[in-house]
Symmetry: C2
DNA sequence: ATTGACATTGATAATCGTTCTCATTCTTTC
DNA sequence: GAAAGAATGAGAACGATTATCAATGTCAAT
């Protein structure tokens, strides 16, 4: 029995988080990995932030998370398709919950301060882009898994 | 005075490369940098390859290029807007001539072997994407410089 | 419960792409 | 031609990430 200490939720965030944990748990189990406390902490931090975080961000948000375990577990989560790793040009890589859990979206990347913010697109355009990409993929023998569309520039603060 | 010199003549690469060097030379001069031999070698290698290269690729293509100088000069070229640095998730960063010199395009990124290939998009869709991005940027106070649209997956070989 | 097999943890060491240092060499300018 | 300042390149240093390994936790079967 896991002792995940379910928080006394009032039916809003609690349930969503519980669902999330359940989805991820079965996804990990499916690849013979355990959904341990450390991994749940990692997911909880990422879910709460709701935007891409660097490793220092993650450790700062929950100091109980050990650096080496964080890297290792993030890697496990990435390989299981639960977390997405983004290299944006800054010193640190960014991590966020993967699209099956967070929905399809894109990024606003600040080339001054390195911050990343999620943005959502009109589904019509999204569809057109998908179609074009599929054509190109078919023509070149490429097997696509996903696409990334990022806008680079200076954020409001910079 | 920009000298964008559309060459209507039938000669092949020689003239194009000369034009390229001229453009880049003035661009560097504009920021008080010299367009030295090392830098011209770097540009020649990138132009000849016509696709993103890692640093080992570059040095292998022209062993006269010293590693430390390559990194330093690549950095100068990136800061002058002549070269684009791409971090694609693999160990090495990729470098290619920037869009003003190469034309707007996107990438096919293989998540197995890490290779990157250039692809070109239908201009109609490109326009739609641009419009959407502008709207989002305006809404969030973001000042865009460029966007990147990459397709991730497995290449024909992998 | 107890054992054995094996996954996980976390402090630390090692890795390795990239950046920095600095003495030397090239360019430009007066 | 001499002085000022860029640029070069070999090597040292840096630092984000990964690997190591002894200790601990967990599951399955007895």
């Amino acid at each position: 029995m896991e002792m995940t200490a379910q928080p006394p939720h009032t039916s809003e965030d609690g349930d969503l988080l519980a669902d999330l944990h359940e989805q991820i748990g079965s996804r990990l189990a499916h690849q013979d990995h355990r959904y341990t406390n450390s991994r749940q902490q990692l997911v909880a931090v990422l879910a709460k932030a709701g935007q891409p975080m660097t490793l220092p961000d993650i450790v700062a948000a929950d100091p109980d998370i050990a650096q080496s375990s964080a890297y290792r577990n993030l890697d496990v989560l990435v390989r299981c398709g639960v977390v997405l790793r983004i290299k944006a040009g800054g010193d640190y890589a960014y991590f966020e919950l993967a699209e099956p859990l967070l929905g399809h979206h894109h990024h606003l990347i600040c080339i001054s301060c390195g911050s990343i913010e999620d943005i959502h697109f009109d589904s019509e355009i999204e569809h057109l882009v998908d179609k074009s990409l599929s054509e190109i993929a078919a023509r070149t023998g490429f097997t696509p898994t996903h696409h990334s569309l990022d806008l680079h520039g200076h954020c409001a603060e910079c």
